[in-house]
């Protein structure tokens, strides 16, 4: 990610903290989410809470917002101890939260959505107030629009405006930039700086080191539920922050020069109508993935990734058999099981409920997509072969689990993802498609998974990675394409492109919208 330009202004350092957490502890059955966490935020300060997935950031924010109650510790607001029993109380104190997974209602309008979260009775003036606030902070919104017609970036604006209408004194932003193009990120930063200059404190949750260095005054680092450091991110490097965050240096995958072979997956003029009324229609998608290369498809969520993946995996079949060609043979009309037999493997975006059945054991989940290797003989399952298969995957991919009979849902996100990736790789596919392969996965497992993908490529497998994490794609892809509004850009070599360029493609800037402004700014 390129380093943005304006360094943030420092707020008065001698002011009393607006929010002070002291000794906050929260325990869940499987994990100690927060372990005696101390944190304080000054008025007008943009304070980062930095940590990898599973460090306890979300839990801490939920405690501040009253969604969850701590087992121990105190929360001080403007100097006095408070008990925040629920979000309504938090809002009354002046705390607002923009969730990572939006709490919006698709079939309702912007105004109705905001009305639900805003605790006043004045419904009539709401649309006008929405327009007012959204203009003032550079987040234009039409109150009458139904949320399901809006892009992810626009929906985030609704979430933010919803908070701003309550005139918050503290705004919590939970991983806000995962759904934005690079340009939209800059625009958001301007909004946040304006707010901070007006005296609002901001808690900025993220694991994106460059963003934190560009935006935040101070950072508190969490690791495994404990505070491992506090610093001024403007005076740190990405490497030093990473070291605080994971206790070691950021692992970098080992690369070998790519030598691409014959095209193993060819997509030709794929047109797919959205199955869901709130989905995206795909138009004229064409690209190829060669044996021994990794092609990455970047894009902000909601631009057709779901539909593309379902079409490629075989979960949705096509009318034209040549729309998708696997290893030289037409596969458009084949279902998922048939495509697997032809050498396709797929790691889906959702682990629990799609990649694995939560209530079933790992052994049974191994059987979910594996049919070769003597697991099924003449229709009957060989329980021993199934168990052995699962044990092999667990051993080969370092899945930490009590035993193969453990239910899939008892595993941590990272371990389950390793199992699923391992299961798909163990089938020795010719083509592997991975969607969001390291989402919600801790750094150690992420590095392992990325390395596994690169190793696969080195063995001559064609790998396609669809992800919203641009950094990850730029790191492992040989070629990169961007999906925006159901259309795919031409793949180009990853080393010959930049985040800015990708960002423009993400926003569909090759077509300007009706306002005459480039689509990138309209966002």
């Amino acid at each position: 990610m390129a380093a943005p330009s304006n360094p943030p202004a420092t707020p008065a350092a001698d002011a009393a903290p607006r929010l002070a957490l002291s000794g906050i502890t929260k325990r869940y059955p499987a994990v100690l989410a927060n372990d005696h966490v101390d944190l304080d935020v000054l008025p007008g300060e943009i304070h980062a809470v930095l940590g990898e997935n599973g460090a306890g950031k979300s839990t801490l924010m939920k405690i501040i917002y009253g969604v969850v109650k701590p087992d121990a510790g105190t929360v001080r607001w403007q100097g006095s101890i408070v008990q925040i029993a629920n979000p309504a109380q938090a809002r009354k104190l002046g705390i607002g939260m923009v969730f990572q997974h939006f709490s919006l209602f698709d079939t309702l309008t912007v105004a109705e959505n905001i009305r639900l979260a805003v605790d006043d009775a004045d419904a009539k003036s709401l649309p006008a107030r929405i327009r007012d606030v959204s203009q003032r902070y550079g987040l234009p919104l039409d109150p009458r629009r139904h949320v399901h017609t809006m892009s992810v970036g626009e929906r985030q604006r609704v979430e933010i405006v919803r908070c701003l209408l309550q005139k918050p004194r503290l705004l919590i932003m939970d991983e806000p930039t995962s759904v934005l193009t690079p340009q939209a990120v800059l625009s958001l930063f301007d909004t946040l700086r304006t707010l901070a200059a007006e005296g609002c404190s901001i808690l900025y949750i993220s694991h994106k080191l460059d963003e934190i260095r560009a935006l935040c005054h101070r950072a508190t680092v969490l690791r495994a539920g404990k505070v491992t450091g506090q610093c001024d991110p403007r005076h740190e490097t990405a490497a030093s922050l990473a070291r605080m965050m994971i206790g070691a240096d950021l692992p970098h995958p080992r690369h070998r020069e790519a030598t691409a072979g014959a095209p193993a997956l060819v997509v030709d003029a794929l047109d797919v109508r959205a199955a869901d009324p709130f989905g995206t229609t795909l138009r004229g998608i064409s690209f190829a993935v060669h044996a021994g290369e990794i092609v990455g498809i970047a894009g902000v969520s909601g631009n057709g990734q779901k539909e593309l993946l379902a079409a490629l995996s075989g979960e949705r079949t096509q009318a034209r058999k040549n729309a998708i060609v696997l290893c030289g043979k037409p596969a458009g009309r084949l279902g998922a099981a048939a495509r697997r037999r032809r050498g396709l493997a797929f790691v889906p975006e959702e682990r629990l409920g799609r990649g694995a059945v939560p209530e079933m054991s790992l052994a049974e989940n191994a059987l979910l997509t594996t049919r070769g290797g003597g697991l099924v003989r003449r229709g009957f399952i060989s329980a021993d072969a199934v168990r052995a298969c699962a044990a092999k995957i667990i051993a080969a991919f370092g899945v930490r689990t009590p035993d193969p009979e453990a239910a899939a849902r008892s595993l941590s996100g990272g371990n389950l993802q390793k199992f699923i990736v391992g299961r798909e790789i163990s089938q020795q596919p010719k083509v592997l498609i991975a969607a969001q392969p390291t989402w919600g996965v801790d750094v150690g497992a992420s590095a392992q998974i990325r390395q596994a993908l690169i190793d696969l490529r080195d063995q001559g497998v064609a790998v396609l990675v669809v992800s919203e994490e641009l950094d990850e794609l730029m790191e492992i892809s040989d070629r990169l394409a961007v999906i925006a509004q159901g259309r795919l850009s031409d793949p180009r070599p990853a080393h010959a492109t930049s985040a800015e360029e990708i960002g423009l493609l993400m926003a569909g800037a090759h077509r300007t919208q009706g306002t005459g402004m480039p689509a990138a700014v309209a966002g």
């Binding site: 510790g73 008990q83 995996s313 979960e315 998922a336 799609r354 229709g379 239910a407 008892s410």
Partner: protein
């Protein structure tokens, strides 16, 4: 101090198998209270309800006789329920099966056909008729996405009315004093007796065979596994390339075939003719049996015996306690409710909440 539910990382297998026992025990407690409230001596009532009906050889035979159709139907239904295919119309499929098998019996009963040829044919006809009746909701769901609970249920009423028309009209016994009933089946169309001086017939053996086949299918066959996946996580089933449509058809047809077979079993067994009502709600009781039996063939077999006991108890209560036989339905519903309540322990633990400590 508050009780709350905490999710278990693993579904508890112990809870899965003790829940039916817990529910049964709780139902007995409810029964105790009900009997007391009705002014009956609870112990005497228990005796009359649960003990007396099976205190004799004849009683045991009756127990197994009633368990037979329940076992067969519930086994078929469970296959569908595991895949989230909700066949609620078993009562109607049973009726159509009885009509098909019974019709064959009436047509060929007086002829030279031997039992060994006629009975299997009747069962096949019944199974086909039950499957055909279940195929309608299956088709409506796969083709139109129509909810199979409602469609299969509507067809129950249709089937009942159809049978009513038949026994009031074209199939009415001309020598039956105008009662709505068909002619009695000839001997060749009646199931052979299994235990002398009881009504238990070879249908019971057929039921056991069906349970056995289902057990093998569900535990060991890949299609059984795939149907389970579909029931637990439809998106995972789609991801694995499991054909959702096939599951719907299989689920519905399994239930329909079994219900149809059960219908023939009743017609060719204890009833021996066609009447306006061929079953005291077996098709619905079987739904409860399927749940109490954890959708597992072995559990279903045991649960069907329990349910059969409830039926016998109701009849006994009617005779000995001057209680309406409807008390059976009351117990059956209570049992299912309590089972669903006890089921929470499979996925959750009950915890006591302590107030959050403010330093």
């Amino acid at each position: 101090m508050r009780l709350f539910l905490e999710a278990r990382p693993q579904p508890s297998r112990i809870a899965a198998w003790t829940a039916p026992l817990l529910a049964t025990a709780a139902t007995l407690v409810v029964g105790f209270i009900v009997f007391k409230a009705l002014g009956r001596n609870p112990l005497a009532a228990f005796n009359a309800f649960f003990v007396q009906p099976v205190a004799s050889r004849y009683g045991i035979a009756e127990l197994l006789l009633k368990a037979t159709p329940l076992m067969v139907i519930a086994t078929g239904l469970a296959i569908g329920y595991r895949a989230n295919v909700w066949n609620i119309g078993a009562e109607g499929q049973l009726t159509m099966g009885a009509i098909a098998g019974g019709g064959l019996a009436l047509w060929l009963g007086e002829s030279e056909w031997p039992s060994a040829a006629l009975l299997p044919l009747m069962f096949v006809a019944g199974a086909l008729a039950g499957m055909a009746w279940a195929a309608i909701p299956a088709w409506l769901r796969t083709r139109f996405n129509a909810n199979e609970i409602l469609t299969s249920l509507m067809l129950v009423y249709v089937a009942t009315l159809y049978l009513s028309w038949l026994v009031h009209g074209p199939w009415r016994d001309p020598e039956g004093y105008n009662f709505p009933q068909s002619k009695l089946f000839g001997d060749a169309a009646l199931l052979p007796n299994l235990l002398a001086e009881t009504r238990l017939n070879v249908g019971f053996l057929l039921a056991l065979a069906i349970v056995g086949v289902a057990w093998v299918f569900v535990r060991r066959h890949i299609v059984g596994f795939e149907m389970r996946v579909a029931g637990l996580a439809p998106a995972a089933a789609n991801y694995a390339g499991i054909d959702a449509r096939r599951n719907v058809w299989l689920g519905m047809l399994a239930g329909g075939a079994c219900a149809g077979i059960a219908g023939v079993g009743e017609a060719a067994g204890p009833i021996g003719q066609l009447l306006p009502s061929m079953s005291p709600g077996y098709g619905f009781a079987a739904i409860i049996v399927a749940f109490v039996g954890r959708l597992h063939p072995l559990g279903v077999a045991l649960a069907s015996v329990l349910m059969s006991l409830l039926y016998l108890g109701g009849e006994s209560a009617q005779m000995n306690l001057a209680l309406p036989s409807a008390v059976t339905g009351l117990f059956q519903g209570t049992l299912l409710f309590l089972l669903l309540a006890a089921d929470v322990l499979v996925n959750y633990r009950v915890r006591v909440a302590r107030r959050a400590v403010a330093a």
